[in-house]
């Protein structure tokens, strides 16, 4: 099992992701430079938060054209797990791996705070360890986190259970008051139809230890690990008959 953390110029949650994987989850992890064109051997790729290429023009818009993204698109199409956090989510929508887009927060300010989100779908590689409708406390820190898509796309997301996380209050109620940035349907995280690409605005890598105020983020990491372990067992099992 091997994880990769992509480093774009301007990535700034890359160290946090690496730390979470390497030190806390203690799994093999490697840096992937934004110019790298080959992702052979990786099982899961992290697109970390930050301001890729300064986020000039539009968030994630320049990163989408970097050499590594061509490889990431290819990797995802072959079924590899890709998770984009915050700016990583924005890059995934720009790259067309996830539908919709992320626009300026409704309040027009950068927001940084602890946020509660409700897990809407636990039948994914990223949320398998969560309980149905579980409320997780995960910090957010973004200026452009307002999820937008046209009605048809939202209907499609709902129909296919692609909405994975929704902003909620501490009791799990989905309301306008609990929506920090004006996202349609309180959307905090979505996956693609195939469930192997996941984008979310909250930062699970920033709440992986009690001393950080919450370790709810571990559930996301553990879900990925368990999923990959199971998959590898199946895979190796199929291979062994030779």
């Amino acid at each position: 099992m091997k994880f990769g953390v992509v480093q774009f110029p301007g990535s700034n949650c890359d160290l946090d992701c690496y730390y979470a994987l390497n030190d806390i989850m203690q799994v093999p992890v490697e840096w992937i430079w934004h110019k790298q064109e080959n992702l052979d051997g990786f099982d899961c790729i992290f697109l970390p938060g930050g301001f890729t290429y300064g986020d000039y023009l539009r968030v994630g818009a320049i990163a989408r054209y970097s050499p590594v993204m061509t490889a990431v698109i290819d990797f995802a199409e072959k079924g590899g797990l890709v998770i984009g956090i915050c700016n990583g989510f924005q890059v995934l929508t720009e790259a067309g791996l996830l539908p919709g887009t992320l626009t300026r927060n409704e309040c027009l300010h950068f927001i940084c705070k602890q946020q509660t989100v409700r897990v809407e779908n636990i039948d994914t590689p990223f949320t398998g360890m969560c309980k149905k409708k579980q409320v997780l406390q995960i910090p957010i820190a973004h200026g452009e986190g307002c999820y937008y898509a046209d009605k048809e796309t939202i209907n499609g997301l709902e129909k296919n259970n692609q909405i994975i996380l929704k902003y909620c209050d501490v009791n799990g109620n989905i309301s306008k008051q609990a929506n920090p940035n004006g996202s349609i349907s309180n959307i905090a995280g979505i996956s693609n139809k195939e469930r192997n690409v996941f984008g979310l605005m909250p930062h699970p890598e920033r709440c992986i230890e009690d001393c950080l105020g919450s370790d709810a983020g571990r559930l996301i990491f553990e879900s990925i690990l368990i999923y990959l372990e199971k998959k590898n067992i199946l895979f190796n099992h199929k291979k062994t008959p030779s």
């Binding site: 730390y19 930050g50 300064g54 940084c112 910090p139 930062h203 950080l212």
Partner: protein
């Protein structure tokens, strides 16, 4: 007019343009043994400005204690460095960006952060935390509102982009800052001891590399701008263009420079801050006892037709100057290329001690590097006790009527913009992060905390300064600034280790202002001695005046301490129903200079609270030892707003009520809102009372049981009875209500 007069007039106007005195000009003539050309005059003007040279404050600052066993680098480097054990060093520095923030608050504040972050980087350290100390004018004033919002956004914008969290700080609103806000930014970094880099040029086979942004005219002359009074006409008159920050580039520079440091490729590094290229190059040459020769034709520029003077004085942000052995040039280039950072060899290190500037083959300036950086003509000023000091210190308690309703008084004080929760200022800043070598906790408590990854230990920081106290008595105000910063750390269980100070004052040529500076520095020094905490870096910002009126003297003390065991970390919130609440220290009748007097009676007079440094130290030692003994549930110090505000904050953050019986022989308003120093409120399970008593006895610290954590209201005898929910509402939204 005869030609002699003409020449004299010319010289006078030249000196005025360059902000140099006649005797300073004479000194230049003696050094060069000839007349300086325009470029050289510009170099001296910038390097001998107060902002770069501290020429008026130097004699005063010399009394700061700067030595301790754990100090690796004290004042004089880009930032101070202390040994924190386990092979690690901590780097800290505070910087002001007052004048730029007055004119262009967003970019002024942003580049203030960027600059101090590069100071930390220049020592080879990874910047890990920022603190902001902000002062604005009248709360509610529309221009002040604009300044606060823009400054907060600017700090957040820069900090978030480079992912350095704001872990603490303080914000005050006082009329005295109406025309001259203060924006002080403090940064802390961590570095492996063996990776520390200093700003020194050495070895004649060494090259000088300029990396980062292309050089433009932004900020040319800023060092002298910063050293002048604001006249309130900055928007109409010409001032140097305020540099703008590019945090995206800064982030890449941080990563690239740390990679260079990590691979041992460079021998010296300095950021380009005030007075840009001239300041960084002459200081590196001077420290290395060598010279530097720069070819200005090689400096990448973003504007056309720049003169040598403009190139040398430009304050374009996000630039670093590096010195390295020639054979490392290729490796360094590869790392900068990888990160997409422009880098150019612009010169070399020489052995003759001369700073030589060329344009192609033509020499455009050559002066001894030391004459710019070290042989600064000191300006000695006279000091005088302010004429109205006696009057402002006079306060007759009989003239101060006690509030009829203490509940309302408490709510009003809690809602004051200087007391209420500052989360509205810091809401935009990065708070929570886990990052390879460190972990950061939330601001809003007495101190910001940073856990050292892979170790049981943590670092705690705080920034403090009460300018009203300093206005009424600068010596005591200086002492209290240090004592309170240390008290905030002690309430976390941390041992205070080092100070970085920022001295914000008015025009030192005015005798009364210089007296304030002298007295404050004396007070700070006494307190440093008492706590055994050295000053390891700092900054002086003078001429903070508008329309001839100086700001209140505002020394800001940034302090760092070590927590030996992170698991013992103590916070201020009340935790358990039934816990005893105990006051360490004594309540006295101190209401002079208090927030209570200002908010309830609109008086800024009287003597500030007295400071007994030995009692202060004992109270802090007792508190720290109790925390380390694991017997305490919460600890919070008494400061602005007094005991009632301290208790309210513990209740609100802990969502718990209290019931206290207090019999004091002092006035009720002094009991509740007086700002007597050397007091800490702790809470703990009753079974630990004997252990606590043993500790307070050992340190001879007075203690009294105030009551218990109980119910949902804050009840103090028959004086106060308010629901915690209401306190919380007022405390959290205080700033919105105006």
């Amino acid at each position: 007019m005869n030609s002699n007069n003409q020449e004299e007039k010319d010289l006078n106007s030249i000196l005025e343009e360059n902000d140099l005195t006649e005797s300073e000009y004479k000194k230049i003539l003696e050094t060069l043994k000839r007349e300086p050309n325009d470029t050289e005059l510009g170099l001296y003007s910038a390097m001998w400005s107060e902002h770069c040279s501290y020429k008026s404050s130097k004699p005063v600052l010399s009394i700061f204690p700067t030595q301790a066993e754990w100090v690796l680098f004290g004042p004089g480097e880009n930032a101070g460095v202390i040994d924190i054990g386990e092979g690690l060093a901590m780097v800290m520095k505070i910087e002001s960006h007052n004048h730029p923030s007055a004119v262009e608050p967003f970019h002024g504040a942003a580049t203030g952060s960027g600059g101090v972050v590069r100071d930390i980087l220049a020592m080879g350290a990874r910047p890990v935390a920022l603190l902001g100390s902000l002062r604005f004018g009248r709360f509610g004033d529309s221009h002040v509102k604009y300044l606060v919002n823009e400054v907060a956004e600017g700090l957040a914008f820069y900090g978030n982009n480079i992912e350095v969290p704001t872990v603490g700080g303080e914000t005050y609103f006082l009329d005295s800052y109406q025309g001259n806000p203060l924006v002080n930014a403090m940064c802390v970094g961590l570095v492996k001891k063996e990776d520390i880099v200093v700003a020194v040029a050495e070895g004649t086979d060494s090259i000088v590399i300029l990396a980062g942004e292309k050089t433009g005219r932004d900020g040319v002359g800023s060092a002298s701008f910063a050293s002048r009074e604001l006249e309130g006409k900055e928007k109409e008159i010409e001032h140097p263009p305020i540099p703008q920050g590019n945090p995206f580039l800064e982030k890449k520079i941080i990563e690239a420079c740390l990679e260079l440091v990590n691979k041992g490729l460079i021998s010296g590094m300095q950021d380009l801050g005030a007075a840009g290229l001239i300041s960084s190059s002459c200081e590196m040459a001077s420290k290395g006892n060598c010279g530097i020769e720069l070819n200005l034709s090689l400096v990448p520029r973003k504007e056309k037709n720049m003169t040598p003077r403009e190139i040398m004085l430009s304050e374009t942000q996000e630039r670093m100057l590096l010195v390295a052995k020639k054979d490392k040039q290729k490796d360094i280039g590869e790392i900068f290329d990888k990160w997409g950072i422009e880098h150019t060899v612009i010169g070399k290190v020489t052995s003759d001690g001369i700073l030589r500037l060329k344009e192609k083959e033509k020499i455009v300036a050559q002066v001894p590097a030391k004459s710019l950086a070290e042989d600064v003509p000191i300006r000695y000023y006279n000091s005088r006790v302010p004429a109205k000091l006696k009057e402002i210190q006079k306060l007759s308690l009989e003239d101060v009527s006690q509030p009829a309703d203490f509940n309302q008084a408490l709510l009003k004080i809690l809602a004051s913009p200087n007391i209420c929760s500052k989360s509205w200022v810091y809401k935009d800043s990065k708070k929570i992060s886990a990052k390879g070598t460190e972990v950061v906790l939330f601001p809003g408590d007495d101190a910001g905390i940073l856990k050292i990854e892979g170790s049981d230990r943590a670092i705690a920081f705080s920034a403090d300064g009460n300018s009203r106290y300093c206005y009424l008595n600068p010596f005591v105000g200086g002492e209290i600034a240090v004592a309170e910063a240390a008290r905030n750390l002690s309430c976390k269980g941390a041992v205070p280790m080092a100070i970085t100070d920022n001295l914000n004052f008015g025009n030192p040529e005015k005798e009364e202002i210089f007296w304030q500076l002298e007295e404050s520095v004396k007070g700070i020094s006494e307190a440093c001695e008492a706590f055994g905490v050295p000053v390891i870096s700092g900054n002086v910002s003078l001429n903070n005046e508008s329309n001839g009126e100086a700001i209140y003297p505002t020394p800001i003390i940034g302090m760092a301490g070590i927590i030996e065991d992170f698991d013992q970390l103590c916070t201020m919130s009340f935790k358990n129903e039934g816990d005893l609440i105990v006051l360490l220290g004594e309540n006295k009748e101190d209401i002079g200079g208090s927030e209570y007097l200002k908010v309830i009676h609109n008086i800024e007079k009287g003597l500030p609270p007295q400071m007994d440094l030995s009692l202060e130290k004992s109270v802090q030692d007792a508190c720290r030892e109790s925390i380390q003994a694991g017997i305490i549930s919460s600890a919070h110090d008494c400061s602005d707003g007094g005991l009632a505000v301290t208790l309210a904050e513990c209740c609100v953050t802990g969502k718990k009520g209290i019931k206290l019986e207090m019999n004091a022989e002092i006035r009720n308003d002094a009991l509740l809102f007086g700002e007597t120093q050397s007091r800490i409120v702790v809470s703990f399970p009753e079974k630990n009372l004997d252990t606590l008593k043993a500790i307070t006895d050992k340190y001879e610290v007075p203690m009294q049981i105030l009551g218990k954590v109980e119910g949902n209201s804050l009840k103090i005898g028959s004086l106060v009875d308010v629901e915690v929910e209401q306190l919380k509402k007022v405390w959290e939204s205080g700033a919105d209500n105006e």
